[in-house]
């Protein structure tokens, strides 16, 4: 094998074997620190509170409508 073929082989190796592996090894950015120590639980807690508030509000509305429905005379009379 002369120098030129060795060089081409090396370059091909780099292009088709090492480069893809190297690219795949690049870590994909995710909120890992946020999950371990970044207080993601605070966000979850806030969302749970907001959701609970909305559901509570919906329940109150539901009960209020039920009360008004009972005030109305039923269909018979």
């Amino acid at each position: 094998m002369n120098k030129k073929t060795t060089l081409i082989t090396l370059m091909l190796l780099l292009l088709f074997v090492i480069a893809p592996v190297w690219l795949m090894a690049q870590p994909i950015e995710m909120a890992d620190t946020l999950r371990s120590e970044g207080k993601i639980y605070v966000v979850v807690a806030i969302l749970v509170v907001i959701f609970a508030g909305l559901i509570g509000y919906l329940l109150l509305l539901d009960r209020k409508i039920t009360r008004i429905e009972k005030k109305l005379p039923s269909k018979k009379d």
């Binding site: 909120a31 639980y41 969302l47 559901i55 329940l59 008004i68 429905e69």
Partner: protein, 222 residues
């Protein structure tokens, strides 16, 4: 709506919020953590389609045997469906801004969704423009069936026939393709069920208010 369904909706959505933020998700380039929006953005559209379908069924029933109640059911299910659709389009724009580069690309999926929301808005314009109650109910029932029939190709067929960046259409795989271990399904399906149930709950409240209103008007007329 039965009480246990309301409880179920609450529990499913509570689970969605907690699991949706804390459970593992596939690591994807560009999308990164925004993949979690799948649990909140996509169920809006599922909910909208289900509510619109229920609305259409009541419209068909109205045309078979007219009654004020069926008209009220059709309107209020369409109303709540529209709310979910608007939330879906706004959340989609936020998501698109950070993954596609800008909020509005004129992507076939976005355009189709926008057109179908306009078609449904016209349903309420039509209702508002007819004075006679029976005429309003009948005309809008016919239009409502047309609106649903127009929505299906606009959202589900055309984006799949052309090229679209939206996952699940136009040569793009849906997220399920990456989700080989089905971890996301464990959150996604409960999320869809929960949001649909919440939509039905809100619609049922609106229906009851409307029916009370009808009753009071009848009492006043007597």
């Amino acid at each position: 709506m039965k009480t246990w369904l309301k409880v179920l909706a609450t529990l499913l959505l509570l689970y969605t919020i907690v699991a949706g933020f804390l459970f593992d998700v596939p690591r994807l380039n560009i999308v990164n953590e925004t993949i979690r929006a799948l649990y909140f953005h996509v169920p809006m559209w599922f909910g909208m389609v289900v509510l619109f379908l229920v609305s259409t069924v009541y419209s068909i029933q109205y045309l078979r045997s007219p009654s004020i109640e069926k008209d009220v059911y059709a309107v209020e299910f369409a109303n709540t469906g529209l709310l979910l659709g608007l939330l879906g389009i706004v959340t989609g724009m936020i998501w698109a801004n950070y993954t596609w580069g800008s909020p509005w690309h004129g992507d076939p999926k976005q355009n189709g969704a926008a057109i179908s929301l306009l078609v449904y808005l016209a349903y309420f314009v039509l209702r508002g423009s007819v004075e006679n109650e029976d005429q309003r109910a009948r005309l809008s029932a016919v239009y409502n069936i047309f609106a649903f029939a127009a929505m299906i190709p606009l959202i589900f067929v055309i984006p799949r026939m052309t090229s679209s960046m939206h996952p699940g259409s136009g040569g793009n795989p849906g997220f399920n393709m990456y989700d080989l271990d089905s971890k996301m399904r464990m959150v996604f399906y409960p999320a869809v069920a929960g949001w649909i149930l919440l939509g039905v709950w809100i619609a049922s409240l609106r229906i009851r208010v409307r029916l009370i209103d009808e009753k009071i008007q009848n009492l006043e007329n007597e």
